[in-house]
């Protein structure tokens, strides 16, 4: 099934290195993200790979409402990435704080800390949805 490529990701040339940051999620999204890279969904066959350092990454995936404690580290992670860099907000919490909106430890949605290029709705989003979002970045 072909996907519609994101114009901003054209410079990545079909090879996307992803760094993930859990900014305060309930870990539901992480389980689905893990599935997206499992043998069943296998995001890697689309040219997407998880890496261990923001220095190596083109794309940052962020889950959860950004908590007060994670706002700083999230920003630093983003700043440590080489340009061009893209951010994918994964899950409803990342988009608008979801069920945690208004919590005393919540800073705000991801977009209030770093610029977001792509959103994946769902609580949690299905692995297939995550894979197809990532495919829009790799274009494959």
């Amino acid at each position: 099934m072909p996907v519609e490529p994101l114009p901003a990701a054209a410079g990545l040339g079909g090879s996307v290195q992803v760094r993930h940051v859990d900014a305060g999620s309930c870990n539901g999204c992480e389980i689905e993200l893990g599935q997206a890279f499992s043998p069943v969904y296998d995001a890697e066959r689309h040219g997407v790979r998880l890496v261990a350092s923001p220095r190596h990454a083109d794309v940052l995936t962020v889950t959860g409402p950004v908590t007060v404690n994670m706002a700083g580290p999230l920003r630093k992670t983003y700043e440590a990435m080489p340009e061009p860099r893209l951010v994918v907000a994964v899950g409803d919490c990342a988009r608008d704080c979801g069920m945690f909106a208004g919590g005393y430890g919540v800073h705000g949605p991801v977009a209030t800390v770093v610029p977001v290029d792509l959103q994946v709705p769902g609580c949690p989003p299905e692995p297939a949805a995550i894979v197809s979002a990532l495919r829009r970045l790799s274009g494959r």
């Binding site: 350092s53 923001p54 220095r55 580290p73 440590a80 080489p82």
Partner: protein, 672 residues
């Protein structure tokens, strides 16, 4: 008139001139004058060496210069090689000395310390040209004494210098005594003391005499060369001596230990039974492995370089042993290749070690410390020095296109191409030696990555390192010359081929191993060749090509700053230190190195679960020293103390001793 004679006399005269200049000139001019004289003497020595390796021989006997025996000088290709080496190193180090010692007039720039430098060079030039046992011993002792005094240049500075001096004095004199015994025995057995007479008479020696002479001389020469287990003076003296002296000692003086072994074992004794070479090979293998392991875990930059000297000497001895063993088995092609490898490695090691010790001196000069854990960040502050040290480190790591690579490749070729017909011993020894060389080369890479990476790159880990400034131009020029020589040896080692052919022929290893080498280094009798020039061109070409293609493709450069795990700001405490970089190696080789580690955890007063401070201490004692030398030192100490009781200060007692001695002599005389 003979070119060798002229150049050699010029070198000695210039050295004398330099020494007197050092004594009489005021502090302001002293370093420059002595440096210039050392350079001139070195160049003259190198010219003499170059003439000698290209086939000009020279012999002279000056009867009146020494009582009884007179002085005999004889220059052949073998001597020429070492003349060239000592002269080259002296020329490079002479330039460096001018800036390094400076105009302070104190420490290494003091009158005596500077005056001794050209004398030391002259003594080193005399050792290979000595043509008789007595002349050789004289030159050897001159070299030992001048180097000892130079090691002690900074004795006011720290007690460690005095300890180093004591170790060096004791070991070098012990070495001299065994060499003296060996050569005197040899001269007595053949009934003549000139090398020509010894050479002629060596064939009739009984195996007992020749083996005894070999063992005695090998012990003495190996200790001067810094081979394990006779090395403990070396890391101390090299570390504590002023850096220009360390460079001279490590690059030139220890090579004369190698010269001694070659001269006595190959030339004077004309080769020997298999077990000689197996013993020499074992010493070489142990030196190579132990040396590089100690270097890999050392945190003192100069100690690291000193142990790497032991390692390289080990490789050279391994090459010599292989040459002897292969020659004994009748495989002359392999023997020639191994010999060429050993000799080429003496030159390569001289080049990169002179450069590296000078580099270490520059670091010490700029920061006041040689502790790699306290350094870092020098590449920004001392860019030229860092670049030059990189050339040296590449050579020392034996990676192409560095110069160490060529000789190690040659050594491996010689070992790999031995034919099974050589007998069981050779069939077993050669693969073991190959494994030793491979392991040594591997750990060597880690060692020099550590030295360069933790010493020069990243951020400074101390205020002293942060305040470092680039060295004065003369120091850079000296190192630049050494780097140029290293590069030359790395790219066109084939220029040495005719000299190596002549040496191999002169040593009766009946083949010209590198005969007909043009741009390629071709091994006669072994179907293998290498072209260092094309390798260098290839490596540089690939790097430049990649950069050009990337630029042409129009991909923008992506910059990412160093990642601090979100815990920033990034501090120098997050870097690899020399200790932490070597920790995995230390762990792997724990049984050999036996590190002493202490971890002290201080708990908070409120709860035993809360840690307030953790302190980690590590010491890596030289195991050979503590196991082999300590007991001897303790015993000698005990004997000395016991002997004190003989001399109580009572005159009556001394008179009784004299009476007893007299009676004993009379009784012995009567009974005879």
């Amino acid at each position: 008139m003979n070119r060798v004679a002229v150049a050699l006399c010029a070198a000695l005269a210039l050295a004398g001139l330099g020494a007197s200049a050092g004594l009489v000139l005021p502090a302001r001019w002293r370093s420059a004058a002595v440096g210039a004289a050392t350079v001139a003497a070195g160049v003259a020595g190198a010219v003499a060496g170059a003439a000698a390796v290209s086939g000009t021989g020279w012999q002279v006997r000056v009867a009146g210069l020494l009582p009884l025996a007179g002085v005999t000088l004889a220059v052949d290709a073998l001597a020429g090689w070492f003349l060239l080496l000592v002269g080259g190193v002296a020329a490079v180090v002479g330039v460096y000395t001018v800036g390094y010692t400076g105009r302070t007039g104190r420490g290494p720039a003091a009158r005596g310390a500077l005056a001794l430098l050209p004398l030391f060079v002259a003594a080193m030039l005399l050792v290979p040209v000595a043509g008789s046992v007595s002349t050789f011993l004289l030159a050897w002792e001159l070299m030992a004494v001048t180097s000892l005094l130079l090691v002690l240049s900074e004795h006011r500075h720290s007690p460690a210098v005095r300890t180093a001096g004591l170790w060096y004095a004791a070991m070098t004199q012990a070495g001299f005594v065994v060499i003296l015994l060996g050569l005197a025995w040899l001269a007595a057995a053949v009934g003549g003391e000139s090398f020509a007479a010894v050479r002629a008479g060596a064939a009739e020696l009984s195996p007992l005499v020749s083996s005894g002479v070999f063992l005695l001389c090998m012990a003495g020469f190996a200790s001067k060369a810094g081979a394990v287990p006779l090395h403990p003076w070396l890391p101390r003296a090299h570390a504590e001596a002023p850096s220009h002296v360390s460079a001279l000692m490590s690059a030139a003086m220890v090579k004369l230990g190698v010269y001694g072994i070659v001269r006595v074992a190959f030339d004077l004794l004309g080769g020997g039974p298999r077990w000689w070479w197996l013993l020499l090979g074992a010493v070489g293998a142990v030196s190579a492995l132990y040396g590089i392991l100690q270097a890999a875990v050392a945190t003192d930059l100069k100690r690291l370089l000193a142990f790497s000297t032991s390692e390289n000497i080990g490789l050279i001895l391994l090459g010599l042993a292989a040459a002897g063993l292969l020659a004994a088995a009748g495989q002359l092609a392999g023997a020639g290749a191994a010999l060429a490898a050993a000799f080429l490695h003496t030159a390569n090691h001289a080049g990169f070690k002179a450069l590296l010790f000078c580099g270490a001196g520059s670091v010490l000069h700029a920061t006041g410390t040689r502790d790699l854990d306290q350094l870092g960040g020098l590449s920004r502050r001392m860019p030229v020095t860092t670049g030059l040290v990189t050339v040296g480190a590449l050579g020392a790591a034996a990676l192409p296109p560095g110069n160490g690579f060529v000789s190690e490749w040659l050594l491996l070729q010689a070992l790999l191409h031995q034919v099974p017909a050589g007998g069981t011993v050779l069939t077993i020894a050669a693969p073991v030696a190959v494994a030793v060389v491979a392991l040594t080369a591997g750990v060597g890479v880690a060692t020099f990555v550590k030295a360069l990476g933790t010493g020069f790159l990243a951020r400074p880990r101390s205020a002293a390192a942060a305040a470092a400034i680039e060295s004065p131009p003369t120091m850079l020029a000296g190192m630049g010359l050494a780097a140029a020589v290293c590069t030359g040896l790395a790219v066109v080692p084939t220029v040495a081929a005719p000299a190596l052919d002549r040496i191999a022929t002169g040593l009766r290893v009946e083949s010209a191993p590198l005969h007909g080498s043009g741009i390629d280094l071709r091994l006669a009798g072994i179907a293998s060749s290498i072209s260092p020039l094309w390798i260098a061109v290839g490596v540089v070409g690939i790097a430049v090509g990649f950069a050009a293609v990337a630029r042409a493709a129009g991909r923008p450069r992506r910059r990412a700053r160093a990642w601090d795990c979100g815990d920033g700001p990034l501090t120098a405490r997050m870097e690899y230190t020399a200790t932490s970089f070597a920790e995995p190696l230390q762990r792997v080789f724990e049984d050999v190195l036996a590190p002493e580690q202490d971890v002290d955890v201080t708990h908070s007063a409120e709860s035993a679960y809360l840690v307030r401070a953790v302190e980690y201490r590590r010491r890596l004692p030289d195991r050979v020293e503590s196991r082999l030398y300590r007991p001897v030192i303790v015993a000698a100490d005990a004997v000395g103390r016991a002997a004190c009781r003989l001399a109580t200060g009572s005159v009556h007692r001394y008179l009784a001793y004299m009476l007893t001695a007299l009676v004993a002599v009379l009784v012995a005389g009567v009974l005879r």
